[in-house]
Symmetry: C2
């Protein structure tokens, strides 16, 4: 299929906007954060629950100065280099609030434990959760514990929810991206996903990698402070589906094109090497401490300065710009001078990464 | 052991207050809502996350006029007479907010789905969730979907969180119960737990029962409106662990005695019959649409009138009173004129009831 045909197909797809789930049974792809997840969310959840706050399908809902978000964590293994399910569950929800432009206030934590799960592991997990909450400046103020029989869970699942406050002047939205904006990532991508994949020990690859899991609320606060009002258009943490999925959602919501420069995308050699062996593109690999920021051209310099001045943004890079054509698509100018479409994620190359 | 010895042992236990988990592995009892759950929460979760908002270990946290709560739902079977996991997940979190004296505003919903779960079942569940949200007057504004491999979950787990607003004059607390207060239940107890147990089809008992799952925010609003300020001391929905567990927590927190009158406790004949066959006491069986209210003597009449005037409180009854002695205990005056201690729930007679 030529690029032009792909564009036409994409526009046609957008026209028949009503999402439909073709499968009769839930598949792993429905949880991968890509195309199937989006379809399931639109066709089942949005269809049933529709309301103006849910409709944008953002990282969280914002109303009356309050942001509210939730995520379940089912990562396997529970412990991996650089973190565990505990700090992942805290940082992930802190980051969803931060991506709403919110200052996180309170977290909840609900545990689904499998009968026979070691109490010592639970203590280890709660200790990293507590440390992550302290680092992010939030309190875990309410929670729940359920236990299911052996074989009915995989050790421990955690669901956190978070509330935070949003300043009245902050209005972030995927639909706010405009031609001329800069597309920024806050650091090298794909480290969390590859680290977890390798930690499963199913692959004969060794790499000196740790998860990038980190709370981004300090970084987003610095960014918002540094930029003129309204210049930060949209923030998204690049979790399941990676940078490619986030940018596709932004392109579609704003009717713009995201034009990326392959050479500018920061990927550590160990991630690149592992991805080549796994046959996956780092653009689709989850990060848990990296975000995509789309910033108006006027504030792009100030944004980069603010990001690079923060320990969690030291590796920030402008990876492309927002264009007009083709609307709704993400294009990558490759190192070899060609251009290819970066489509939404199909299937689930890396299940249960978070 | 005589009643006096039990009292002494109980006081001694309260003295060595620091909870300790003796088990090395998580057991079903840790999820039953009774003694083991409490110990796990105090020794692991509270120990790690300690902060003034979490400390009361109430149904939710209240700060600055905002209430925040979460619960995971792992009920089996997913569908049962009178409801399913969907309305349970909405009503449960609505009720936890209502028990904080809050007016529920927003809910989140996070799904952990097992690969192979029928999409049709998911649609059925989201439809009942949407209906329950409408009935309670709340919107589901944010959510998450994760999928785990076959055999790593039991169809579908749902975690909801909720935020609501609390009027400044409303201050409910288990420690606020005072001698002379009336102990009220809002209707017949144990229907949800027995219904779910029978729906599993493992027992050769048939009963004409449906779950009592319902949103109690309308009922609590009516109650708070009807009573003088400060007269409603504490509200708790009698879920896992049942009325007995809730009353034990209130007695312990307030240092009072809860003196119940067995004859006054409303239990439908079908529930009583099933409980006799199962060898369990209805006082420990979960309700999902009934609450315990402790109300100052001065407002007890007004409270009963308000409850009985509401469809969900038509079967409300004063089941006892708060006394001074023995502090921290729940006593039951039996139909035969005797008195027995109603202890906290030990073990898990009815796993995965919610």
């Amino acid at each position: 299929m030529t690029t032009e045909e792909q564009v036409l197909e994409r526009i046609e797809r957008a026209r028949r906007r009503k999402a439909r789930v073709r499968e009769e049974l839930v598949t792993l792809a429905h949880g991968a954060g890509g195309k199937a997840t989006r379809t399931l969310i639109e066709a089942v959840f949005l269809e049933a629950f529709r309301n103006p706050l849910l409709e944008p399908l953002a990282d969280g809902a914002v109303a009356g100065g309050l942001a509210f978000t939730t995520d379940s964590y089912v990562v396997t293994p529970l412990f991996f280099p650089g973190g565990d399910i505990g700090d992942l569950a805290v940082n992930g929800t802190v980051n969803d609030l931060a991506m709403c432009g919110a200052r996180p206030s309170y977290l909840s934590a609900a545990f689904i434990l499998e009968e026979g799960f070691p109490i010592a592991d639970l203590r280890r997990i709660t200790a990293t959760m507590a440390a992550a909450a302290r680092a992010a400046g939030v309190d875990i103020v309410t929670g729940d514990t359920k236990v299911v029989q052996r074989g009915k869970a995989d050790g421990c699942y955690i669901t956190t929810a978070g509330v935070g406050t949003v300043a009245p002047e902050v209005r972030l939205s995927a639909s706010a991206c405009e031609p001329g904006d800069a597309v920024i990532v806050s650091g090298p991508i794909g480290e969390h996903g590859v680290t977890v994949m390798l930690a499963r020990g199913e692959l004969d690859i060794e790499a000196d990698l740790v998860s990038d899991t980190a709370p981004l609320n300090g970084l987003t606060a610095a960014l918002l402070d540094a930029c003129d009002a309204g210049q930060v258009r949209c923030l998204r943490d690049a979790t399941r589906g990676g940078v490619a999925t986030v940018l596709n959602e932004m392109a579609e919501a704003s009717g713009t094109a995201m034009i990326l420069d392959e050479d500018a995308i920061p990927v550590r050699p160990a991630v690149r090497g592992a991805c080549e062996l796994l046959g996956i593109d780092p653009l689709y690999v989850a990060c848990e401490g990296r975000m995509v920021a789309v910033v108006g051209g006027r504030s792009a310099g100030a944004a980069m300065e603010a990001l690079r001045g923060h320990p969690l943004g030291a590796g920030a890079a402008v990876i492309g710009r927002v264009g007009e054509d083709p609307p709704g698509l993400v294009l990558l100018r490759t190192a070899f001078g060609g251009t290819r479409i970066v489509d939404v994620l199909v299937g689930d190359p890396l299940p249960r990464i978070c």
